[in-house]
Amino acid sequence: MIDQPGASILQVENLNVFYGTFQAVSNVTFNVKSGEIFGLLGPNGAGKTSTLSAVEGLLSPESGEISVAGFNISKQPLLAKANMGVQLQATSFQPELTITEIIKLYAGIYGVDLSVDRLNSILQNIKLEEAASKRFGQLSGGQQQRVSLVISTIHDPVLVLLDEPTSGLDPQSRRQLWERIEAIREKGHGVLLTTHSMEEAEAVCDRIAIIDHGKVIATNTPQALIDLHKNDPDVINASRKGKITLEDVFIGLTGKTVRA
């Protein structure tokens, strides 16, 4: 496990993912450091989720290397997975189980000793003590995301992967979730998140990579990307309010065409 702050905890090198003959990810390379929130941005179908799925071990890449805390996801999948916490795009828990049962299930899977006090403290932390015996399917979108996030960090992983974590949330729930993601960073964990929201990327990400047509076309801090591209004609053309934003840079780099 990586202990040094700022050390690389996720290393993705020359990743290539194919679906049949279609290449979804092409030579993608990036890294995530501990104590960093790294955003993966891109239009629909750009290859964000495919990249994340390869990191999670859900699909086998055609070529490339992925290591989590020094463990290769293909060669040492269980060790790599023991070091990562994952929040998937879908709220993917059995709707028949209560929140308490779901937390107990994943604590058991990750080998976490869950005392009654610890369980209560978790429920208190996500403000769901009153809803402890409610079934997952009965929770609101924001509550489901909180449960999902707490489960992704229940084993204190060095790397947390979040696939569009605030999608479909109201502004209050979104802000609250940002604070929770930032708290993960404060503990020294690394976070890799995908998002469509430029506001989110600017607000919480330390560095971002813009991915399009399966390729990483830019990697930097949000402000550095704005500074670097603010004079590009396509970026200026995309600007709506005079001041160049990350969204303008994103549109300038990936184009105005709506993707399927």
């Binding site: 859900l58 997975k81 023991a82 059995q94 058991g108 899977i109 990750y110």
Partner: protein, 251 residues
């Protein structure tokens, strides 16, 4: 700090507990698997004198097994795949095979419950009793028959990705099995169809179960039915596993 992979026994125990709880709360599936066979057992009481207790027992058990494979296993797998529940479990440090083994254990529990229920109701209501060897052999062959229908269910979820289509297909197959199996074996649809049904997945399981209930009269036909059941189970399971995708999106 050293990375430790969680103990597999603890992970498996947690998963099984959750799967059993999910199954228990999924009342419709439990009712379909247990209630329909018991209703048949009770309502066919009048036929026992004509066809024998073993015939009614075996029909009732076979329908229960079809229901467990179709309604219990296939529909729940299709639904959970569609919701991303499998993908969520696959990103944990637990062998992927545990996910399906745990599900199968739940269904084996259902088969045991069904068989016990049929024995008890058969004895209490229909006054059907078997020899100790008959009870044991029926129990064992019920699991073999169950393996066939779980394999069949696996083949359906392997072939069809969409949860709604799996849902409607399994219901159609279930009804077809009940109608053709129950009435076809009685000769209601002619001799040719009766022969086809006799060697179909429904017929072989029924024959095997009926013979297991009376070990003293176990014959060549029963042995062939047992071999055919195992062969069906192996082929269906092989194809179902080969075609199966963990995500309805294709990954």
């Amino acid at each position: 700090m050293e990375t430790k992979i969680p103990r597999t026994s603890e992970a498996f125990r947690s998963l099984m507990r959750a799967d059993f709880t999910t199954q228990w709360r999924n009342r419709r599936s439990v009712m379909m698997s247990l209630l329909v066979p018991l209703i048949i057992l009770i309502s066919w009481k009048g036929l026992i004198d004509k066809f024998g207790g073993a015939f009614v027992f075996s029909i009732s058990l076979t329908i229960g097994l079809v229901s467990i494979g179709m309604m219990g296993y296939a529909i729940s797998v299709a639904r959970d795949r569609d919701k991303g529940i499998f993908q969520r479990l696959r990103v944990t440090p637990m062998p992927t095979s545990f996910i399906m083994i745990s599900r199968l254990m739940v269904q084996l529990g259902m088969i045991a419950l069904l068989t016990l229920g049929v024995f008890i109701i058969g004895y209490e209501v229909d006054k059907i009793s078997l020899t100790p060897a008959g009870y044991v052999l029926t129990f064992v062959t019920a699991f073999l028959g169950g393996a066939l229908y779980l394999g069949f269910g696996q083949m359906i979820v392997g072939l069809i990705k969409n949860a709604e289509t799996v849902n409607s297909t399994t219901r159609l197959v279930y009804i077809a099995f009940i109608m053709l199996g129950m009435f076809g074996e009685l000769g209601a649809f002619g001799t040719e169809l009766k022969n086809i049904i006799h060697w179909s997945p429904f017929g072989t399981v029924k024959t095997m179960l009926a013979s297991a209930m009376q070990p003293a009269i176990w014959n060549y036909d029963a042995t062939i039915a047992l071999v055919a059941t195992v062969a069906y189970a192996l082929v269906f399971s092989f194809l179902g596993i080969k075609w199966f995708k963990w995500s309805s999106a294709g990954a």
